[in-house]
């Protein structure tokens, strides 16, 4: 049986667009999200948060709250494990998470949790918070990345920097990355034109519409149950167990339907707190964040300060490129400076390239992953400079990118050689797209940009069980954040040869399947998909064995075709095809239940590239920008369910539009977040956007049985730069700072005279 061949065409199910299995639940209101769970005798939790950006906690007095009849438990840091070690950098990530979910000696940002209450109603819990007395000693704070690196900046935490940081840097710099190849000085000397510029982006929030929510039960016996909205419940299980000092296997975590995550639900915030409250009260505790808590205390992405220098010849050849990227990731290590640096020049084949990244701490919430963490900022800075070089040298922006594009065999700016990749194909598709040649109206500008993301494999377990009637149930461990249950069913149908509707895919809880990494890194259709295919093939092997036994021929004389066991050739014997359901009907008598499974860490997640084209219109009177046309072109490797691939393209573009034009964390002089509601933190609404056109390019990824590349993240990489290039063209002035809000555009126009 040649089961491991790469299959890239002649699919029966893959590439079709069936309805999603969770569709009915989601249009009728019966899908259960994080806050939709209730338990008998349940208490409601609430968290007290620091109003100060940086303050020493001198005293917490919870006695008045505890005296209330409705209050059943109050917790502070003392109610969590004291065995979690502090270590520099991400080595001490459990300690970092513990410190973030409940402050220790110091409150490190506006919104940092300092105590929590469980009471008989949500109102009673909120009322009780007002009775907790906290005495603070206010300390100097810093929220800006550049200021946090200055010699006189307040130190967030001594000893947080890891080995990578050279001596003499401020303690707030906790990691440094440097990579590249060639000789950039020599490269710049060869250039006909060198452009060097400085760019900034503000922190933006993932903006999922569902606030974090959970329902926790933990007994004095150390056994617990947790229901929560998360992108990965095994990491929740592992982290909560460590923070509460219990054994991992004794905590069962079930992932609810998830109302958006985009990277922001890859860690824990309220879950350990709810468990600690439950343990103390000996009752189930439900904890739901308000929107303001989501903004103040969950992870936005990092803000960035970047210097880019690129040299180009008159014919468009890039001779050298250099970038310095400073990212602030809040009051903890983990800002994605490394990814920013590594992604920055990845689209281009460069002889001389150098990139440096700094991860910097400030008095802001602990950053969390946000869709291709770090990459969009880098693309904004780099692709803006390439646009400027094209403008000054009178070169076509697509042709220049094609001339320098990374291809199969290119030594990537961050080290390895690329395998089969699809950047050139996206650029060729852009060139051929009618959008690129459509006329622009006065006041409009067109921008393009490329973007890159690594994609990820990660630890993956999948189990597939056949039923007597020939239907199949698939258990995966990656929460469905974009229609992945449909994609898994399509891939299983393709291998088994049974209808899509006869396959039910479930997100298993932590007690019923082996470990699974989080739904992040655009890994689900790649890794859980690969695992589903391999689990299905494992079941097919067993089906073939049963047929061989029945026919009395060797198993290698049986092959699987269109849902049936058939003799592999004329010499194998003359037997009628044996359908799957005929084999499963009496599997109990022919050897027992038939299941397939797969556990591994797939390493072949193919990288993904995209090219976006944007038309923007700028009103010089008000500074308001309107995106009038948008086209996303991206390599999907193989689109398993093309409608959901389009959805990922469109969603990434829309989030990028928000990041480019509106969204930003605004801090006051007092270090407090000024815009912690959706009215003031304005994500794109329906009337802000045009239709978003999509082109799916398919250059198969050799690391997946059907050629899949992850598609979720790359779509947010090009928009910032593409829109900035379009706005710069429309306004006639280079925009170097995001967001390009009306006041920023007006002041840029004014400065330009």
């Amino acid at each position: 049986m040649a089961l491991d061949d790469l299959k890239t065409k002649d699919f029966a199910f893959v590439g079709t667009r069936p309805n999603r299995p969770d569709g009915l639940d989601k249009v009728t209101g019966r899908a259960k999200f994080g806050a939709d769970a209730y338990a008998p005798g349940m208490l409601h939790g609430a968290i007290l948060r620091s109003p100060h950006a940086h303050a020493r906690i001198l005293r917490i007095d919870t006695s008045k709250a505890e005296a209330l009849k409705d209050v059943k438990a109050v917790v502070t840091r003392a109610d969590f494990s004291d065995k979690v070690p502090f270590e520099p950098g991400l080595e001490g990530e459990f300690w970092n998470v513990l410190e973030n979910v409940m402050a220790g000696d110091k409150a490190l940002y506006d919104g940092h949790a300092v105590a929590a209450v469980a009471a008989t109603s949500a109102l009673a819990a909120r009322d009780a918070l007002k009775l907790i007395e906290v005495e603070y000693e206010i300390l100097p704070h810093v929220t800006d990345v550049d200021k946090a690196m200055l010699a006189d900046a307040p130190v967030i935490r001594e000893g947080a920097a890891d080995y990578s940081v050279p001596e003499g840097m401020h303690p707030n710099v906790v990691r440094m990355h440097e990579s590249g190849h060639g000789d950039v000085a020599a490269g710049f000397a060869e250039a006909d034109l060198v452009v060097e510029d400085h760019f900034t982006t503000e922190a933006t929030h993932q903006g999922y519409i569902e606030p974090h929510a959970c329902l926790a039960t933990l007994g004095m016996d150390g056994k617990g149950e947790l229901w929560c909205c998360t992108q990965g419940h095994w990491i929740v299980q592992k982290t909560c167990a460590a923070l509460l000092g219990i054994e991992t296997a004794n905590l069962r975590v079930t992932a609810s339907e998830i109302g958006g995550g985009f990277g922001g639900k890859t860690t824990v915030f309220i879950e350990p707190v709810a468990l600690a409250l439950s343990r103390k009260a000996n009752k189930p505790v439900k904890l739901v964040m308000s929107r303001s808590e989501v903004f103040r205390a969950t992870g936005p992405t990092a803000s960035a300060s970047m210097d880019i220098k690129i040299g180009m010849k008159k014919d468009g050849t890039i001779t050298a490129a250099e970038g310095i990227f400073r990212l602030q990731g809040g009051a903890f290590p983990g800002g994605p400076a490394e990814f920013t640096a590594m992604c920055a020049f990845a689209p281009y084949s460069l002889s001389n390239v150098r990139q440096v990244g700094y991860d910097v701490m400030t008095n802001r919430p602990k950053q969390a992953a946000y869709r291709a963490p770090g990459s969009p900022m880098a693309a904004f800075a780099v692709e803006s400079v390439i646009d400027e070089l094209c403008n000054q040298l009178g070169l076509d922006p697509i042709e220049v990118r094609l001339k320098n594009a990374s291809r199969e065999g290119t030594k990537a700016s961050y080290g390895p050689r690329f395998q089969q990749i699809g950047l050139v194909q996206t650029l060729e598709a852009a060139k051929a797209h009618p959008h690129l040649s459509a006329p622009l109206k006065p006041g409009q500008g067109r921008g393009i940009s490329c973007g890159f993301w690594f994609n990820h494999g990660g630890e993956t377990s999948v189990s597939l069980a056949l039923s007597e009637d020939g239907s199949a149930q698939v258990m995966v461990g990656t929460p469905d954040i974009g229609g992945s249950r449909a994609s898994m069913a399509l891939m299983a149908a393709e291998v088994l040869g049974i209808p899509y509707d006869n396959i039910r895919v479930t997100i298993a809880d932590t007690a019923t399947l082996g470990y699974n990494d989080v739904s992040h890194g655009s890994r689900v259709t790649y890794a859980s998909g690969l695992a589903t295919i391999k689990a299905a093939r494992h079941a097919v092997e067993k089906l073939c064995e049963r047929a061989a036994k029945k026919w009395g021929i060797p198993v290698d004389a049986v092959k699987w075709e269109n849902g049936c066991a058939v003799p592999s050739g004329p010499n194998a014997g003359d037997f009628d095809p044996l359908p799957l359901a005929d084999i499963t009907a009496n599997m109990g008598q022919t050897g027992g239940p038939i299941s397939g499974h797969f556990e591994a860490t797939p390493e072949g997640a193919g990288v993904s590239f995209a090219t976006h084209i944007v038309d923007a219109e700028v009103d010089p009177e008000t500074g308001k920008t309107r995106v009038v046309r948008y086209t996303v072109i991206q390599d999907a490797g193989k689109a398993i369910h093309p409608t959901y691939v389009e959805g990922q393209f469109q969603g990434g573009a829309a989030q990028g539009i928000g990041w480019a034009l509106n969204e930003e964390y605004i801090y006051g002089e007092d270090g407090r977040l000024q815009n912690s509601v959706f009215l003031d933190y304005r994500i794109p609404v329906a009337s802000d956007l045009p239709m978003i056109d999509t082109v799916i390019v398919e250059v198969p990824n050799p690391g997946h049985p059907f050629g899949v590349r992850g598609v979720g993240e790359t779509s947010i990489c090009p928009p910032l730069a593409a829109i900035a290039n379009a706005v710069s063209a429309a306004a006639g002035v280079r925009m170097r700072n995001l967001p390009m809000s009306p006041p920023r555009i007006l002041s840029a126009l004014k400065a330009d005279g």
Partner: protein, 159 residues
């Protein structure tokens, strides 16, 4: 604080609950009537995930107090389908994959239904502005707008 008795009608059924005067209609629907289709995305009337109709008018149930429902008729996402027949908008949202995570979907369906009841032939711009109070972070709205426009067309042709 003593609770207030409220008698109201939800999706055509007479219901009663006791609520604290500070509790919102959204709290009451979810926590007292187990109608968890309406979602709290913001609690400030900015996201529309809690959209319901109150005597036929589209409102954010997080901005209405539970006690204000006394004697009113409330419509939620749970009441959009008739028995086992989905409303055309519900079917079209499934067909068009006009949702990814689905948290905003109940509110958008309630809002879109209210739109089509008063304007059976909306332009794309009218749909976009009507739904501007319903935030979706996953889709970029493209498939949602198409689904609403196409439902409107089907419903007009079916008349």
């Amino acid at each position: 604080m003593s609770k207030i008795h409220v008698s109201t009608t939800v999706n055509g059924d007479a219901v009663e609950y006791l609520c604290d005067p500070r509790e919102t209609l959204l709290d009451c629907l979810r926590d007292k009537l187990s109608l968890t289709g309406a979602k709290e995305g913001c609690g400030t009337g900015d996201c529309g995930a809690c959209s319901v109709t109150l005597d036929g008018r589209l409102v954010c149930s997080c901005l209405v107090l539970g006690v204000e429902a006394e004697g009113k008729e409330i419509g939620t996402v749970e009441g959009i389908a008739e028995g086992d027949v989905l409303h055309p908008l519900q079917q079209k949202f499934i067909d068009y994959a006009a949702l990814q995570c689905g948290i905003c979907t109940p509110g958008i369906l309630v809002a879109a239904k209210a739109l089509l009841e008063q304007n059976p032939d909306p332009t794309e711009e009218e749909v976009r502005f009507w739904l501007a109070g319903n935030l979706c972070r996953c889709t970029g709205y493209d498939k949602i707008i198409r689904a609403v426009m196409d439902t409107a067309k089907d419903m007009r042709e079916a008349v």
